[in-house]
């Protein structure tokens, strides 16, 4: 048996440890609590330490100069919280609807827009600059009151032309050729479950092949050795031959070829890739104000600022997308970004009604 003294010391050390840990924990919590209470009145005086939180997907990069201009204009800095790929970001936001992780959400696209609208995720807002945006990009009905178009881009199959030239194989020129045995084991795409280009491409195949024929087309893609990766990063950086992988056909964007030139930092004057124009699917990305936002006024200012020329002009080179208002494009875009004249698209109502069924059917077939 031990002497009583050591029992006491055990007791005291237990208590001390718990008190200490609780104190540490409370200390680490307090800043969060304090700013939740303190910064609510957004008067002119308290603006200096203000911050507006932008919830977005991983790949989004804030245009730095534009963000600095926003700070000059409003006194608030933009804090970015990335929560995953577009699908993941939206689901996380939906699961925390009402207790949001930020003020503005950006990156919901036209394939997922109705999912965002069906739950009470967003607060209605009509920004000042809305009239400058082409009507074709705006959403109809309730969705249009909640989501503001910020940029557009086309999701297209990219072709590594240098790889095909090196092998002496003719590169595909039509989407239907992707099921051709000549292109066996050459294509890598993203999963429509997790990735927004993946879902856009699935919708594109349904638009092209029809609701009857799309499953057959996917069966042929599967038989022809298509590889499915969970995210765009995975497919583009690990598997695409231009990044050192083993697949010369990748599901990416119409803006990826100019991006190649920019990222090569002078090594490339010409992109290795071209896009398979016939596979392009129109994608529009929207921003909205999260219901329950801590800084609703700053959130509105940020969404309006995202439509300003400063932000819109910066978008092509920060995120490789096209602006929604009429601003000049950077030279590399004018030279190398080709846009499909008539990209694949589906009726938003049809997408809304069928999307989850299609994803389920796709998983049934492909996984």
């Amino acid at each position: 048996m031990r002497i009583p003294g050591s029992n006491r010391s055990l007791l005291w050390s237990c208590c001390a440890a718990s008190v200490l840990s609780l104190a540490l924990f409370a200390a680490s919590c307090s800043p969060d609590h304090s700013d939740s209470v303190a910064t609510r009145p957004a008067g002119k005086d308290s603006v200096s330490a203000a911050e507006v939180t932008l919830v977005t997907y991983d790949a989004f990069a804030v245009p730095k100069e534009a963000a600095a201009e926003f700070k000059k204009l409003t006194g608030a800095s933009i804090k970015v919280v990335a929560t995953g790929d577009t699908g993941t970001m939206l689901t996380k936001a939906l699961l925390s609807a009402g207790a949001p992780e930020g003020d503005v959400i950006f990156g919901i696209d036209n394939t997922l827009a109705t999912r965002a609208v069906s739950e009470n995720l967003l607060a209605p807002f009509q920004p000042v600059g809305l009239a400058k945006i082409p009507r074709s990009l705006r959403l109809a009905g309730k969705a249009g009151e909640l989501l503001v178009p910020i940029d557009t881009g086309d999701v297209c199959i990219n072709i590594d032309q240098e790889w095909f030239a090196g092998k002496g194989i003719e590169a595909p020129t039509r989407m239907n050729q992707l099921t051709d045995p000549a292109y066996r084991d050459l294509l890598v795409i993203e999963s429509p479950v997790t990735s927004s280009p993946g879902l856009a491409f699935l919708i594109g195949t349904i638009a092209r092949q029809g609701e009857r024929g799309w499953q057959e087309y996917w069966q042929q893609l599967k038989d022809n050795g298509v590889r499915v990766r969970p995210s765009w990063d995975d497919a583009y950086y690990s598997d695409y031959t231009v990044s050192g992988g083993d697949r010369p056909l990748v599901l990416s964007y119409a803006s990826s070829p100019p991006a190649e030139v920019v990222f090569s930092e002078g090594k490339r004057t010409q992109p290795a890739s071209t896009v398979l124009l016939d596979s392009c699917v129109a994608q529009v990305e929207y921003a909205g104000i999260l219901d329950g936002a801590r800084e609703p006024e700053l959130a509105q200012k940020l969404v309006e600022f995202m439509l300003s020329p400063a932000w819109q002009k910066a978008l092509p080179l920060s995120n490789y997308v096209f602006p929604v208002i009429d601003v000049p494009l950077p030279e590399v875009f004018q030279k190398f970004a080709s846009r499909a004249k008539d990209p694949l698209t589906l009726d938003p109502d049809l997408i809304s009604a069928q999307r989850d069924v299609w994803i389920e059917q796709w998983r049934e077939k492909m996984e």
Partner: protein
Amino acid sequence: MRSLTEQGRGVRLGAEPPVRTRRRASPLGVFVVGAVFVMIALPIAAVLLRAVQPDGVWGTEAVTRILGSPRTWRLIAVTVAQALASCTLTIAVGVPVAWVFSRFRFPARSFFRALATVPFVLPSVVIGAAFASLLGPQGLVDARGTWWAILVAQLCFNLAVVVRTVGAALSGLDPSQEAAARMLGDSPFQAARRVVLPAVLPAISAAAVVVFLFCFTSFGVIVMLGGGSVTTVEVEIWTRATRQFDISGAAVLCAIQLVAVLATLSIHARISRKRSTSFSVTLQRTDRMPRTLWEWSAVGAAVTVVIIVCGLPIAALFERSLEVNGGIGFEHWQRLGSAAEGTGLSIDPLSAMLNSLLIATAASVAAVFLGVASARVIAHRPGGSADRILLLPVGVSATTLGLGFLLLAGRPPFDLRGSLWLVPVAQALVAIPLVVRSVLPALQSLPPSLDEAGQLLGVTAQGRFWRIELPAIRPAVIAGAGLAFVACLGEFGATVFLVRAARPTAPVAIERLLSRPGGAGFGQAMALSCILVLFCATVLLLVDWFAAGDQGLDLSF
């Protein structure tokens, strides 16, 4: 576990095997067990309710959709198959290793035994990261999405369970029985098959069931190594809930998994009962130096297996964290304090680590208090249902708990989703069973005469706890606390549902950093993983130092 600990304590206290009596538990203890029970039951109930109320009203839509899909059944078959395969592989490798470790004394044996144990206390995400660094896009071969990569990673993770459980049974075995069989003309092989194997078979099957359960609900390893194409029920729950926004579908899968887990747990309970009655143990040393060349080569083989399966991935982790543009340097470690752009992580890795430490401390302190209080109630009423209820979180998958908590937290009257307490509470719940399992055998082996002596001397019930009971079970409490802390530090499955993106824990940060192969986060993820390895290994060593006996930390089941 029970037999080993009882034997140890029995010797220390110099008493005959204790007689268990039903005594009245203190009201406070009963309240604690009740509260813990509610905390476990509520999230599970929330998940099950969501399965049958997909849109807030009763409906069978989700159930028929999930059960009617052939893919679900394929998924269940694949999950069971991979768990069986992992389990078979782990037993096939682990039992010979356990045999060598318990039969032979050789240089650095305790080091290699510790090496075989370390992966078990590492976060599954770190194991995944270690194997991803070997078998990922930046590794030797890109084997993500292949089953063999996952099987090897799970072997690494679970080897400790077999080595410890079967090793404890083997070293408790009376060698004279084997010698007698040899004298009667059996070959060594025959003696092993006819004497040793039957005696340790219950331990092997108990270990097999536990490994099966761990692999069945394995999450972190498959998320990290599955490459998106390999999924199991557990990963599918996560995919549906967090990717597809199909909460009710995920809930149905949770229910299916719960049934499978409960069935496995009841098999385990049956085996454990049989094991504790059919044991003949010895306290003599049963190990010796290897004599023949054959015996030395067996030792060599076992050591090689441990080095390759457990040592190599951890070494790779450190090597990768130091690799800078083909050379060696501390750049990744130096950059841990700053958030790298384009990594999908909104805070720097060091802050995530600090977050983890704070949360794990709070959670494990709570788990120790609640766990010890619960264990006392169970010890007073052996065989009660509290026993099984408290062990439930071991089997109930972490994603189920996480999803349940999330559904619960968003419900009126309180919205706790933004609360900082959500993650520690969930982690404490995951850790309580570890404390109970560690403390319970020590409590049960206390001879009642000690308590009676205290009563005779007029010590109050409180005084008897602090001055008699607690000092006697102190090593077990420390071991439980250590296990609880590393479990909380590495918790991923539940945390990933509950954590806010602006405040990730270290395992979540590692997963986020590694999910973007093009990003600059790879080196940071490796360095952060190394820090977690160092923390967990230190805790393991401290526990070993303060609390454990001959066998090292008791991890057997």
